[in-house]
């Protein structure tokens, strides 16, 4: 048993979320694929080939089937913006978005070059001349918008971690504080970003008053909304991690008569690190999901705004571009999760833990 009676359950479901992730071999029971696997295992294929087939070929087949079904279904769905785009149209739009990006970059480079030449000429004429350097103000491309989104989610997540880990540690160490804060945590945890955003917007515009703001208000709004939504898994998992330090290890610290601070630093925190990372991983996932919605409403120039603008724009290529964004969002989310997983593997002592 971990921790005090009646203390751990509040967070266990969050913890279970990562542990109980499905095992593809037992839950996915397509007979044909199963037969393919058994066939591969039974025959005399070299192990490497079998592994390659399992890890590469089978997913590729699944993707191909998905693309086929999507393409076939898309042809039969007529929207007010024309036919629902299939894989080919989306692929073309992805290329188009990349082309737009390089074109915009070329324009920016040309702008800066012209500006420099102009300034150099001015200075040559009169060394005391005042030289103005203006930033290029083209519209943000798809790639720029991914960058903005990443920056926003990083800011929000960083803020959330900065708050959640100390709060979690304190809650884990003091049953009284945990009892005090738990109802608030449980009530705020399920609140949607769409509900937070209007409040955040009003509070930010009331408090963040500056003639020359360093950060755009839309950015601050989105980042704070992300923070508010992704605090909770880190708080809960850190609490559980700190509260469920093995009794044997605490006995060791009692026999050694470690002081409160040494005990916390040398025993409690290290043993909570695996669960802290679990919480942070869940938080980052939630943060990225929430961000898109926040950006749509806050008009922060990121992926969410891109989707919204394309939707409002309503051109014949809009749906395909939105689908490109959908894939980009998924891919970035996946990479963020893998990144956290790598960090977790690097920092966590619990190398034996199965991490998916």
């Amino acid at each position: 048993m971990h921790g005090r009676p009646g203390f751990a359950p509040a967070g266990t479901e969050d913890h279970a979320m990562t542990i109980a992730l499905f095992n593809p071999r037992t839950t996915f029971n397509a007979p044909a694929l199963d037969r393919l696997q058994t066939c591969l295992q039974s025959t005399q294929f070299p192990r490497r080939v079998v592994a390659m087939v399992r890890h590469l070929l089978i997913p590729l087949i699944a993707i191909a089937i998905f693309l086929g079904v999507w393409g076939a279904a898309a042809k039969n769905i007529q929207t007010s913006l024309g036919e629902l785009p299939g894989p080919v149209a989306v692929w073309q739009q992805a290329g188009a978005l990349l082309d737009e990006h390089s074109a915009e970059r070329a324009k920016a480079a040309a702008f800066y070059q012209r500006q420099e030449e102009r300034n150099a000429a001015k200075l040559a004429e009169d060394p005391a001349a005042e030289v103005k350097i203006r930033p290029y103000t083209g519209k943000p491309t798809f790639i720029d918008q991914i960058g903005t989104s990443l920056l926003t989610v990083a800011t929000g997540f960083f803020l959330a971690t900065l708050i959640a880990i100390p709060v979690g540690i304190v809650c884990g160490m003091s049953a009284t504080l945990y009892t005090a804060l738990n109802p608030l945590i449980q009530i705020f945890k399920p609140v949607s970003p769409l509900a937070w955003l209007p409040l955040v917007t009003m509070v930010v515009s009331a408090l963040y008053v500056s003639d020359d703001p360093l950060l755009a208000k839309s950015f601050v709004n989105s980042a704070i909304t992300v923070t508010l939504c992704c605090l909770w898994p880190t708080i809960i998992n850190t609490t559980v991690g700190v509260a469920s330090v093995s009794k044997d290890l605490l006995n060791v610290s009692r026999v050694l008569r470690l002081g409160w601070f040494t005990k916390t630093v040398k025993i409690v925190l290290p043993s909570a690190i695996p669960l802290m990372f679990t919480g942070m991983r869940l938080s980052l996932g939630i943060g990225w999901m929430v961000l898109i919605a926040a950006e749509m409403l806050a008009q922060n120039p990121g992926l969410g705004k891109f989707v919204w603008d394309e939707f409002q724009n309503g051109s014949s290529s809009s749906l395909a571009r939105i689908m490109v964004a959908v894939f980009a969002i998924g891919l970035v989310g996946f990479l963020l999760d893998r990144g956290m997983l790598l960090l977790q593997r690097y920092f966590s002592w619990d190398k034996a833990a199965v991490l998916r």
């Binding site: 509260a243 006995n251 009692r254 026999v255 050694l256 008569r257 040494t262 040398k266 409690v268």
Partner: protein, 277 residues
């Protein structure tokens, strides 16, 4: 003067079914340098006795005196070797022992001395080859060796061992017993060891304390093991006195105090109550 005096200790735990008296009137005097084994059926409260001596649990009645001073909190002078080794999984073998050395000898030994002392104790348990390994990279027997090194490094007045080899396979266990005898011959520590292995108890101990079944368990019988040291398990196998001792312990455990089929009261190991704050 008695070195360690377990003076009529009793302990009662509150449970959902009312108070449960686990120990009643446990009295035992241990001399300096003596190796005492506590043996009894599981659940009889052996570990509870050990935890009271360690200071991890507080006796309800009676008390423990070490060199005539009452034991009222845990401390490194009563180092514990836990059954499940209890090494910190994120520290290397060296760092696990070093943490104890640094804590106990912070004021009295220089950095270099603490380093040497750590190495010396790991040498004693033959673990010098694995200083940088983490606990999950070494075998169960090796972990227990490190646990013993950590306890020895505290230079305890009494070494408390809670079924130290209970989780090991029998071959590893015999190796560990031999190692322990070798260390004991060199250091002559005062040791209280809990076991439920009769051979282990006879082989290692100067005295075997047999405990009656709980609840309200107490010291049933005490057996002096008068066998010359160093002891060799192979030679002892045919020694009539050794076999007499074995038989005496077995008789106590299986004739007079056989585990009752249906316990009179629901029995469970009382969990140590710990304040995490």
């Amino acid at each position: 003067m008695t070195y360690l005096n377990i003076d009529h200790v009793g302990i009662t735990f509150p449970t959902d079914h009312g108070p449960l008296e686990v120990l009643r009137d446990v009295a035992l005097k241990v001399d300096k340098g003596e190796f005492v084994s506590l043996i009894g059926h599981s659940g009889c409260g052996k570990s509870t006795v050990l935890n009271i001596v360690a200071g991890l649990l507080k006796a309800t009645t009676g008390g423990v005196l070490l060199e005539n001073r009452e034991v009222d909190e845990p401390g490194p002078d009563r180092a514990v070797v836990f059954q499940n080794h209890s090494l910190l999984p994120w520290l290397s073998v060296y760092d696990n022992v070093r943490l104890a050395v640094d804590t106990v000898f912070k004021g009295s030994k220089s950095k270099q001395e603490r380093h040497d002392w750590t190495l010396h104790n790991l040498e004693l348990v033959h673990m010098s080859h694995a200083l940088d390994r983490r606990p999950d990279e070494i075998s169960g027997g090796m972990k227990q060796r490190v646990g013993i090194a950590r306890a020895l490094a505290m230079e305890p007045k009494v070494l408390l061992m809670d079924e130290p080899f209970g989780a090991l396979d029998s071959l590893t266990r015999t190796h560990m017993q031999d190692s322990l005898m070798e260390i004991q011959a060199r250091l002559n520590n005062t040791v209280i060891m809990i076991t439920h292995d009769v051979d282990e108890a006879v082989l290692l101990s100067d005295r075997i304390v047999m405990m009656s079944n709980g609840p309200s368990a107490t010291v049933g019988e005490v057996l002096h093991i008068d066998l010359p040291r160093p002891r060799d398990r192979l030679l002892l196998a045919d020694n009539p006195r050794y076999n007499h001792y074995r038989a005496a312990v077995l008789k106590f455990l299986h004739e007079r105090h056989a585990q009752p089929d249906v316990p009179a009261q629901p029995r469970h190991k009382p969990a140590l109550k710990l304040a995490a704050g």
